[in-house]
């Protein structure tokens, strides 16, 4: 058989493509359940991190089930809507107009009288997506904790947003001033934001990532305004 003929070449590459394709499909399908479990456990870990709970790898799922007592979806009016909060694609929702969004809320009960509301945020950094979870006290305004993560920000610069040194600055800041929603500003150390909102120090050398964090909080938490106000009213 002539190995340099066109027929041989075409048959060869087709057979190769089919064999490799089958192998890949088999690997992807058989490993899928494990991968989904890992991704879910990782998400649970991130959600818990926003209320300062950092369980060991083995305890993530049991801790999540223990502390996160309720999950639901709200719309921009603060009304609950149907659906599974854990499966909501926050990336997709954050790009929609506010009044069409479905926004997940994770209710976290640390102790019977100590309830936190965890809200996911999603935005863009310098190189890729950044996201996080922000937990709010039951007054709907005071931030209890924050967790940020990123896909590929520059190590040592933008990637510092995932360090506690940055995220802990959000503790005890307020999202509402005199009943108005004012997102947290991320500004250069020493500067003060224009509207008197609460601020955190940005990361030196990570300007675009820092700005991304600020606009992510503005965009995503802005959608929860009505929901947070209703929490506040309930409490008073």
């Amino acid at each position: 058989m002539n190995k340099q003929s066109n027929i041989y070449t075409i048959i060869y590459i087709v057979v190769l493509a089919v064999v490799v394709g089958a192998a890949l499909a088999f690997a992807a399908l058989s490993l899928k359940p494990l991968q989904v479990d890992n991704a879910n456990a990782d998400k649970m870990k991130q959600i818990l991190a926003s209320v300062h709970i950092t369980p060991d790898k083995a305890d993530v799922i049991s801790d999540f089930n223990k502390y996160v007592t309720e999950q639901y979806i709200v719309n921009s009016q603060g009304e609950r809507i149907e659906g599974n909060a854990f499966d909501v694609n926050v990336s997709e929702q954050s790009k929609r107009p506010v009044d069409q969004r479905e926004m997940p809320v994770y209710v976290c009960t640390l102790s019977p009288n100590d309830v936190k509301y965890i809200l996911p945020v999603y935005g863009a950094g310098l190189w890729g997506p950044i996201w996080g979870y922000i937990s709010v006290n039951s007054d709907g305004s005071t931030i209890y904790g924050a967790y940020f993560a990123h896909q590929g920000e520059t190590p040592g610069l933008g990637a510092e947003i995932e360090k506690p040194a940055f995220s802990n600055q959000f503790n005890n800041l307020h999202l509402f001033k005199e009943g108005r929603f004012l997102p947290i500003a991320v500004v250069k150390a020493g500067q003060a934001p224009l509207n008197g909102e609460d601020k955190v120090d940005a990361i030196s050398g990570g300007t675009i990532t820092s700005k991304g964090v600020a606009s992510m909080i503005d965009n995503c938490l802005g959608g929860y305004t009505k929901f947070l106000q209703s929490l506040n009213n309930n409490q008073q």
């Binding site: 890992n38 991704a39 990782d42």
Partner: protein, 207 residues
Amino acid sequence: MATNNKNLSALINPLSKDNPVIVQILGICSCLAVTAKLEPAFVMGISVIAVLAFSNVIISLLRKTIPTNIRIIVQLVVVAGLVVIVDQLLKAYQYDVSKQLSVFIGLIITNCILMGRLEAFAMGNKPWPSFLDGIGNGIGYAIILIIVAFFRELLGSGTIWGLQVIPQSWYEHGYANNGLMILPPMALIVVACIIWVHRIYNKDLQE
């Protein structure tokens, strides 16, 4: 006996005299990307060893059937297939590491060492020597990665394998981690230093 020696040299040579990174200067790109910390560098090394060894064997088995005019495509398909499988395995069993390595696993496909070894060795040698050649070159690559990562993590973050080794008291006396070590350019400089030291001891490599 002669073949044994040849096999042995296929395995041993790439470790020093014919090292893919510091002598052939291949695979530098991934060397910059994954060496800020030891753990991802180690996993990257293992992944490259596995992909290189198996793709060498597969190409060597197929070498007599591959039509010459599409041989590069065939090599790429085999490498890409293996890399995706490694990526899937990491996602299933080493999720944290796979998160850290993210796109770099995919970039093994474009690692010059792979194509280089497939073209230069596997296309003309039997499976067993090809396997040894793959292991040898993979280890040669991994060693350099680990040396670079060791220095970058130690000087850049003060840790080794995530464990703090620079005592807290040093920081209190004004010692600071070198942020530059974490950035990719320092990997080039560390690689250059390794090449420098290596050439001092291997005079025949000096130009």
